[in-house]
């Protein structure tokens, strides 16, 4: 079992290489394709996140957060989204679509564990790096403006938070997306709602929204873990040891829950299958 796991893990970089090559071939078809995908990707991410910055600029900050701090928050939100886009594209981040459309069957047919497909199928480092680069630019500019004391420790913490936030985003998507096992048509687009919800709420500082809502935004819709809580630590607004650990711990909890719920859904799917995919490729 452990040997199989090691073998699959060792195979992942090769698969990423293959998918990266296919992605490069696809985007290198022409300047129009390359430009439009890059442009659309960044515009979409900015469109859903920029309004927090616009409001901060208009009102000279939001609550206790200055405009530059809000810019950092926005940059981190974009960076996390960009990292997930980069590695889990092609609806790997929207499992309700894959399940709802019956396309999960394609993944089950491939002679490799499902988790390997999930971890590799959506790796698109060339066509889907626009948001990541945009987020990097915003982060660098805001960090300069805030004169943050960047050190190796700070960068390690930043990396830990990006990985944790990405894991929380994916777990949230798989938790809700598993509903498509039960209702393929009704829940096919539920991940569009969950994604939009996270996208719109994550670039906002949640200080002051009220205890009840804050709890909801750290549990039912964990938008607070994606940029707000990590930014509080990275910007030095929260130096408590608990503050430091909340996001990685939440990632562990959400990931465990997602695995359990997805496996339950998969067990149900094994009995029912999907009736939505026709031989010629159209959905019913």
């Amino acid at each position: 079992m452990a040997a199989e796991l090691r073998a699959e893990l060792a195979r992942l970089p090769r698969l990423w290489g293959l998918y990266a090559r296919m992605d490069l071939l696809w985007i290198a078809r022409g300047a129009k394709v390359a430009f439009s995908w890059y442009f659309a990707d960044l515009l979409l991410a900015l469109g859903s996140a920029v309004w927090a910055f616009l409001l901060a600029e208009r009102f000279d900050g939001i609550g206790v957060w200055s405009t530059a701090q809000i810019a950092f928050l926005l940059g981190l939100a974009l960076f996390v989204r960009g990292a997930v886009d980069f590695a889990f594209n092609a609806n790997m981040y929207c499992p309700s679509r894959r399940i709802g459309r019956g396309q999960l069957d394609h993944m089950l047919l491939i002679p490799q564990p499902l988790w390997v497909s999930i971890a590799s199928d959506g790796f698109m480092p060339f066509s889907c790096s626009g948001t990541l680069l945009g987020g990097t630019a915003v982060l660098v500019l805001s960090a300069r403006s805030l004169e943050l004391p960047i050190s190796v420790g700070w960068l390690a913490l930043f990396a830990l938070y990006v990985v944790s936030a990405g894991a929380i985003m994916l777990s949230f998507a798989y938790l809700w997306g598993s509903l498509a096992f039960i209702a393929p048509r009704g829940a096919e687009e539920i991940n569009s709602t969950t994604m939009r919800l996270l996208e719109q709420l994550k670039p906002f500082p949640l200080d002051g929204v009220g205890g009840g809502l804050a709890v909801l935004l750290l549990t039912v819709v964990p938008a607070g873990f994606l940029a707000w809580l990590p930014s509080r630590v990275l910007l030095g607004l929260d130096d408590s040891s608990w503050g430091l650990l909340w996001t990685p711990l939440a990632a562990l909890v959400f990931a465990s829950l997602a695995v359990v719920v997805f496996r339950l859904g998969l067990r149900h799917y094994a009995r029912t299958g999907s009736t939505r995919y026709l031989a010629h490729g159209h959905r019913r």
Binding site: G47, V50, W51, E57, I182, A187, T193, L216, V221
Partner: protein
């Protein structure tokens, strides 16, 4: 005329029942949207402070604006199923139906609206006071003008949707890419999320003249009394007069280039 109306009603009914009859799971989608409304309203209170003193628009008005934007979300961000039809390849079937293309897609959209309105918009409007929001219009006249402005917003939105569809074909771009770009642009520029009057650097007064403002800002500003109704409605009429001929021309010029391989 009666036949056309029956066709519209039948298509809308089919579209409405499509996803509702399978399972009550779709109701969870409304719960998530409800949570989003609660959070957005709370965020506005944080942004503007308890009194909203720094804002040119009173906090209560902004809250009404934000709530109305959610209640009429479908109508302020018009989206037919034409992109799905391209993507699934079912556009060919649409061409074969004994009904004009625009009424077909408008009817399908209407079906989805009816379900959303009954299960989300209406309950949200009725529960506005629970969120601490007064949903009443600025005046009776504002309410009447809002109805006219909302109709024009839908008209402009439909034209936009067909322009985007025609451009998707003309530029040979992926369906979703064009949809994403148009939505991302519209969300920021239409005032659907932030009232244009609250944008920095005087952006709002410039954006008001663009067609995107006719989609959301115009009806919402009229309802809440923060916009100049005659000018906003005149702009909506002007943009409808410009965009529909453009949509018709673009579509006629490109419809025969439509190629579908299925979804």
């Amino acid at each position: 005329m009666v036949l056309a109306l029956r066709q519209v009603i039948a298509t809308a009914r089919l579209a409405a029942l499509g996803s509702v009859l399978e399972s009550p799971v779709f109701l969870l989608d409304y719960l998530l949207r409800l949570l989003r409304v609660a959070v957005l309203l709370a965020l506005w209170r944080v942004v503007l402070g308890a009194e909203g003193a720094a804002s040119p628009v009173a906090l209560g008005t902004v809250l009404t604006y934000a709530l109305l934007a959610e209640v009429f979300g479908d109508q302020l961000s018009v989206r037919t199923t034409i992109a799905n039809a391209f993507w699934q390849g079912s556009i060919a079937q649409h061409f074969l139906r004994p009904m004009l293309l625009v009424p077909q897609f408008a009817s399908e959209m209407l079906g989805g609206w009816l379900v959303n309105f009954a299960l989300f918009s209406l309950p949200l409007l009725l529960a506005a006071s629970l969120f601490g929001v007064d949903p009443q219009p600025a005046s009776g006249t504002s309410a009447l003008l809002f109805a006219a402005s909302l109709s024009l917003a839908i008209c402009v939105g439909l034209a936009f949707d067909f322009i985007v569809a025609a451009l998707t074909v003309a530029l040979e771009q992926p369906v979703w890419l064009m949809q994403w770009v148009s939505q991302a642009v519209a969300v920021v520029l239409s005032g659907a999320v932030i009232p244009l009057a609250l944008l920095p650097w005087g952006l709002g007064s410039v954006l008001e003249w663009l067609p995107f403002a006719s989609l959301a800002w115009a009806p919402l500003a009229i309802y809440t009394g923060i916009g100049e109704a005659p000018r906003l409605i005149a702009l909506q009429v002007a943009w409808a007069c410009v965009l529909w001929p453009l949509a018709g021309w673009l579509w006629r010029a490109n419809r025969e280039k439509v190629v579908g391989f299925g979804g």
